[in-house]
């Protein structure tokens, strides 16, 4: 970057600044645009660069000012594809709202999951919006093509929800298969890291670069990985099983490529050295991310409280304790409390537990309440419709489709008996 930045003079209105992370960025005072890429002398470089069709915010930019420009670009695209994303992601609307309200948060691809259809994979951004990505052609779409959509449908809904939840800042499952939190030492747990690679975003240079300078507040699974990756660059590259590294090399963005390389070389022990300014800025960024605060609070809650809140949610959303989890969990997905528990096995366990207690309570209630027997219901029905003019067979033919007749759990014989008794009593009264 440094070599390039000295090259040609900036066009009028543009100024060069240094981001807390040490990157240069450029700011136009008049148009209030900012960019990591050096503007060219011709008319506005940012507008000139054509957004690839369907590519969801390719260059995810961090840093104080550059966000504005990034924001405008990604939001315009987000409107374009709003319908699918909204339909597909329960939390999308809220994510978008936050986005509009607070321009600091920008969208960065976070987790990747390969689909059964090669070479496609599902990528979820940090705002929890999924899109599909073709690893071979390096194209991505908010709207999956039909064949990809079929492959998407194969993934269990729960897993997608989990993925989205994790991308939106959920802590990793404690007993999950990918315990990233525990990976404090990289060398010994290399296998675990490799395991995670598959879930990580294809390391486009921009991605890596941005993940590196991502504020600590939103420290994520993937940042953790990337940091570790940087600590052992040779390890990572040698151990990477083909796919991700190939993309790495073939990426066409030379500038940032060399940039990240130089970073790696200059400080092999750590990703980026944070100075005081940087930390300060990070703290500010954390303060600004007020929407994440709730999440963090949730994460800090003790397990008992989480379970308690989850049960409260089950109660409030009128989940049927007699039903199966598969039938009921659709009611819950949109509730923010759903992600309090991280794995579906945990949720199911809590659901079973709750259902048992709930059923006991329901049975107690039923015992206290006066019982309405089917006989009562049917005699009520008879009082309304039965006349001495009709035999039972005729009565049945006439009223068999009435709900009062149909729903009664009495057998036909019992009904006939009750009918006759009732008619007799009516006749007696008349005489």
């Amino acid at each position: 970057m440094s070599s390039q930045s000295q090259a040609d003079p900036l066009p009028q209105g543009w100024t060069q600044h240094v981001a807390p992370s040490g990157h240069y960025y450029y700011y136009n005072k008049t148009t209030k645009e900012s960019s990591y890429e050096r503007p060219k002398a011709t008319n506005g470089s940012i507008q000139a660069e054509p957004p690839k069709s369907g590519k969801p915010s390719p260059a995810a930019v961090t840093g104080p000012q550059p966000k504005k420009q990034q924001q405008s670009r990604s939001s315009s695209q987000s409107h374009e594809h709003a319908s699918w994303a909204a339909a597909y992601t329960p939390g999308y609307e809220t994510a978008k709202r936050r986005n509009d309200h607070k321009p600091r948060k920008k969208e960065v691809p976070k987790l990747q999951r390969p689909l059964s259809l090669e070479p496609w994979s599902l990528v979820v951004t940090n705002l929890g919006r999924p899109f599909v990505y073709n690893r071979q052609e390096k194209t991505s779409f908010w709207m999956p093509p039909p064949d990809v959509k079929n492959a998407l449908d194969l993934i269990p809904k729960d897993e997608i929800v989990m993925l989205i939840a994790r991308c939106r800042g959920l802590k990793n499952p404690k007993d999950g298969s990918r315990p990233v939190d525990k990976e404090t030492t990289n060398e010994s747990k290399r296998t675990a890291i490799e395991d995670e690679m598959e879930y990580m975003i294809p390391p486009d240079d921009e991605f890596v670069e941005n993940e590196l300078i991502e504020p600590e507040g939103s420290a994520s699974i993937s940042t953790g990985i990337i940091r570790q990756r940087n600590r052992t660059p040779s390890d990572a590259s040698s151990s990477d099983s083909g796919s991700s590294d190939d993309e790495y090399g073939s990426s066409d963005d030379d500038e940032s490529n060399s940039d990240s390389d130089s970073e790696n070389n200059s400080n092999p022990d750590g990703p980026v050295e944070f100075n005081e300014d940087d930390i300060e800025w990070q703290i500010q960024a954390m303060m600004a991310e007020n929407n994440d605060e709730d999440d963090k609070e949730e994460e800090d809650l003790p397990y008992d409280v989480k379970v308690e809140q989850f049960k409260q949610m089950l109660l409030e959303l009128k989940v049927n304790p007699y039903s199966s989890w598969d039938n009921e969990f659709n009611k819950l997905i949109n509730d923010p409390r759903y992600t309090l528990l991280q794995t579906s096995s945990e949720r199911i366990a809590v659901f079973q537990d709750w259902a048992r207690d709930r059923i006991v309570k329901l049975k107690e209630q039923q015992a206290v309440e006066p019982k309405i027997t089917p006989e009562d219901l049917f005699s009520e029905f008879l009082r309304q419709f039965a006349t001495p003019k009709l035999y039972y067979a005729e009565f049945k033919r006439k009223f068999r489709k009435e709900p009062g007749f149909k729903s009664s759990r009495l057998s036909d014989r019992e009904k006939e008996k009750m009918y006759r008794e009732y008619i007799d009593s009516v006749k007696k009264k008349k005489t």
Binding site: N320, Y322, S324, A355
Partner: protein
């Protein structure tokens, strides 16, 4: 398959009304499979959903009785007798190592080429990483207890 209930069949035990809707839902899902197109699927593949849904239904009833304690033993026996749940499969679930068993055919070793159980019974830890398993019999992705 549960028996068809008519006017003349014996009344189900108390508590059946509570779970009737869910069971009906399972029945409808099974019905739907009959009409789903099988083009492009392997012969086995078109049967997988049947195995899966019957497994789910058995699991549901098993959970209702053993972990949720929502139904009476009388109703549970009736459900087994009527064929809402597979009693033999449930019997296996009570054995150690078979807690998540997908279907009975997957442990029928003698039916297979090397007289071994199905691939889905192999624990994930002993398999190559990221290998997606789909067992031929029921499309199970792995039902070892340690998974």
């Amino acid at each position: 398959m549960p028996r068809v209930r008519t006017q003349r069949t014996k009344k189900p035990p108390e508590g059946f009304a509570d779970i009737e809707d869910t069971l009906l839902d399972f029945a409808n899902r099974l019905k739907d499979i009959e009409t789903t197109p099988h083009e492009g699927k392997r012969k086995n593949e078109s049967l997988w959903p049947v195995f899966q849904i019957t497994h789910q239904r058995s699991r549901y009833i098993y959970d209702l009785f053993y972990s949720r304690e929502a139904i009476s033993s009388e109703l549970y026996q009736w459900l087994l007798k009527q064929g809402y749940a597979d009693g033999n499969l449930i019997a296996k679930w009570k054995k150690q190592g078979y807690e998540k068993l997908c279907c009975l055919r997957c442990i029928q070793a003698k039916e297979n080429n090397f007289n071994a159980t199905c691939i889905c019974r192999v624990p994930k830890a002993k398999m190559a990483k990221d290998k997606v398993v789909e067992c031929v019999t029921c499309g199970c992705h792995g039902c070892a207890s340690s998974d």
